[in-house]
């Protein structure tokens, strides 16, 4: 099942400069939002991306789609390094790289009808007009479980779940190969979340589209992902295939994240001890020395504040960046 790589990220960094001074702006520091990230996503595959807010998940996704230009590194898509392309050169590729955002309400233009919203990409890219256009929109509405007669409604006339369906339809309009889903369920109720999760799975099955699925809900991520990456302060802490990482989480951060998720079963929860991670994510402007996780790590030892762990394969593609598992340091 050697599937083709759709999109590959190599040593990607994104620093946001922090400046001071009104007239002559002086750079005083960098926010290292993404700091040396590498991975690949294959056709029809879902890579789940988890980590606390502020860890750089959105920035990473936006850099992949060239919504942000990376500070350094490469993003390969269809044989080209997107980071090297001009906006004009990117334009034709954008069709096949799409995004679904968290709050469908914020990302949909309130003065557009559902038809305008879904159809806009078809117009921009000169794909369809007239009758064909209307048919294609109706088809897309159907595909995401909305009725074609809803095409003339405005976003506020839809419920939250329906709006997210609109977002999905819009992303699908141009038959993308890759969709970045940035917390697409966060604004939805659980019963509706399940509807959208199933919809995304069906569409993947049907069209073989690959997803980067960013979420803070580790149970949903397990459900939807083939592989999972855990991010902390701009770096990948651990990445592996789904079953392995959930059965055998190695990084103390992954272990803590998993432990913090309450199980919807009182019998289980009455007995379960949890790891309560202390403190909060530090500022990426001045990340901690050594292992960036060390001030919060319940397994930290002396070396952790001096030595930066490398993301290493501990077997079968299970990569972890933690000194507890490092063997090959020279």
């Amino acid at each position: 099942m050697a599937k083709e790589v759709v999109i590959e990220v190599n040593n990607l960094t994104k620093y946001f400069p922090v400046t001071r001074g009104l007239f002559r702006q002086k750079k005083i520091a960098d926010i290292k939002a993404v700091d040396g990230v590498s991975f690949a996503i294959h056709d029809g595959e879902t890579l789940g991306l988890v980590g606390e807010s502020g860890c750089g998940k959105t920035t990473l996704g936006k850099c992949m789609l060239q919504l942000y230009r990376a500070t350094s590194g490469e993003v390969f898509f269809e044989g080209k390094d997107l980071c090297q392309l001009s906006d004009r050169e990117l334009q034709p590729l954008r069709q096949r790289l799409q995004v679904i955002f968290q709050d469908p309400y914020d990302s949909l233009n309130p003065r557009f009808t559902a038809r305008d919203i879904i159809g806009e990409p078809l117009i921009i890219h000169n794909i369809a007009r007239g009758k064909e256009y209307r048919e294609r929109v109706a088809e897309l509405l159907n595909l995401v479980g909305l009725a074609p007669y809803m095409a003339d409604r405005y976003p506020h006339e839809f419920s939250g779940g329906q709006r997210q369906r609109l977002g999905v339809a819009r992303a699908l309009a141009l038959q993308p190969r890759f969709i970045m889903c940035d917390e697409p369920l966060s604004a939805l109720d659980v019963s509706i979340q399940a509807q959208i999760v199933n919809l995304l799975a069906d569409l993947q099955e049907k069209f073989g589209v690959a997803y980067l699925f960013i979420s803070h809900d580790l149970s949903v991520v397990r459900h939807i992902s083939d592989r999972v990456a855990v991010m902390y302060l701009g770096k990948i802490a651990e990445i592996s295939n789904r079953d392995e990482i959930y059965k055998n989480p190695l990084h103390p951060y992954t272990q803590a994240l998993l432990s913090a998720v309450p199980i919807p079963d009182p019998e289980v929860e009455m007995k379960r001890q949890i790891i309560v991670l202390q403190g909060e994510v530090p500022s990426p402007m001045s990340p901690p020395s050594g292992c960036v996780f060390h001030p919060r790590c319940y397994r930290a030892f002396a070396d952790c504040s001096n030595v930066t762990p490398l993301l290493e394969d501990v077997g079968d593609g299970h990569h972890v960046a933690c000194l507890l598992y490092e063997q090959s340091r020279p």
Binding site: S191, S219, R242, P266, I274, V276
Partner: protein, 333 residues
């Protein structure tokens, strides 16, 4: 033993341009001293309005408590004067909101906001109030409290603001705290910190807690009894253990199967509840869940099912549940 709080047949409606929104439509529940109960349900089902009604903070004139009783230590809060009610809020009953940034005052220091209630309810001087504020911030786990009491809310992170809200809520050692989705906007790690903190504090002070949430995991971990709301009504309640193991309303059963569980083998497919909740302006005749229910029968469209005891201490508002076996329950092994 009489309950600390007894809500009886509460109805809170809103007058809007489109008609009357029956946000809370005949809700009853009770909370014992020192006990944690959960109110759970999807957005718009009336959780917040029912909480605000207890404190009589429903936005008037659009919102109005139409009828019902809210007995707190035997006194009907709905019969108190404005002044008497002010003496209750913060002193005997306090509330923690979802988004502390909008409920904290942006132009007052955190210390002052904690001190305010102590000055009003406990006759403390400003100096005493600030001293107590420092102690409380320390208690809720804020480092350097002696300095941070002089900070403004925007200088706190989201998690820290919520800790400050907890400090305000417990300042006067109330008998009841209402926590309305206290962790919905924070990460799971911070959620765990805050909920463990709330649990430890309420245990230590023997404070009763109404935990409002849409998260079934949180209910399972922190509440002994649970009340499930749907479209302005409580449709099922009982001990969490019973409700989770033998849900007696198809909606509760549906919620439980919609969420994937980390402790179980991964399912290939989630089982969502189809459709969406009804419009509270024109709710259907009969059962409010009928449009989404796989077990609906003709009676469900004609008559609204009453909330009845279907097993010991376990109540459900569902015709099928009251008459027959419940086909949605997992076959007991």
């Amino acid at each position: 033993m009489t309950a600390l709080l007894e809500v009886r047949n509460l109805k809170t409606y809103f007058n809007t341009q489109d008609g009357v929104v029956k946000a809370v439509d005949g809700v009853s529940y009770d909370v014992n001293r020192g006990e944690t109960i959960a109110l759970v349900g999807e957005s718009g089902c009336g959780k917040t309005v029912s909480a605000l009604s207890i404190l009589r903070l429903v936005a008037e004139p659009a919102g109005k408590i139409e009828s019902g009783e809210i007995l707190f230590e035997g006194t009907d809060l709905l019969k108190l004067s404005g002044d008497e009610m002010r003496k209750m809020r913060g002193a005997k009953i306090s509330i923690i909101f979802q988004e502390p940034l909008t409920s904290l005052n942006p132009v007052l220091t955190i210390g002052r906001q904690i001190s305010e209630g102590l000055e009003f309810h406990k006759n403390m001087s400003l100096k005493e109030g600030m001293q107590e504020a420092t102690r409380l911030l320390k208690l809720v786990g804020i480092p350097h409290p002696e300095r941070r009491i002089y900070d403004y809310p925007h200088q706190f992170s989201g998690g820290m603001r919520q800790r400050a809200m907890i400090a305000i809520a417990i300042a006067c050692q109330p008998q009841l705290i209402i926590a309305d989705e206290p962790t919905t906007v924070v990460d799971v790690t911070i959620q765990a910190q805050l909920l463990e903190l709330i649990r430890n504090i309420t245990k230590e002070l023997n404070t009763a807690l109404i935990l409002i949430t849409h998260n079934l995991g949180i209910v399972a971990r922190y509440a002994r009894r649970v009340f499930v709301m749907y479209a302005g009504n409580i449709i099922e309640h009982g001990n969490a253990l019973d409700v989770y193991r033998y849900p007696c309303h198809p909606y509760t059963a549906g919620l439980l199967t919609s969420v994937p569980r980390l402790d179980e083998p991964r399912k290939t497919r989630l089982l969502p509840i189809d459709g969406q909740p009804p419009d509270l302006i024109a709710p259907p005749i009969g059962c409010s869940f009928q449009a989404r229910c796989a077990y609906s029968m003709p009676q469900c469209q004609r008559e609204k099912p009453p909330l009845l005891e279907v097993a010991p201490n376990h109540y459900a508002a569902c015709w099928v549940s009251q008459k027959e076996q419940r086909p949605w329950q997992k076959k007991s092994s």
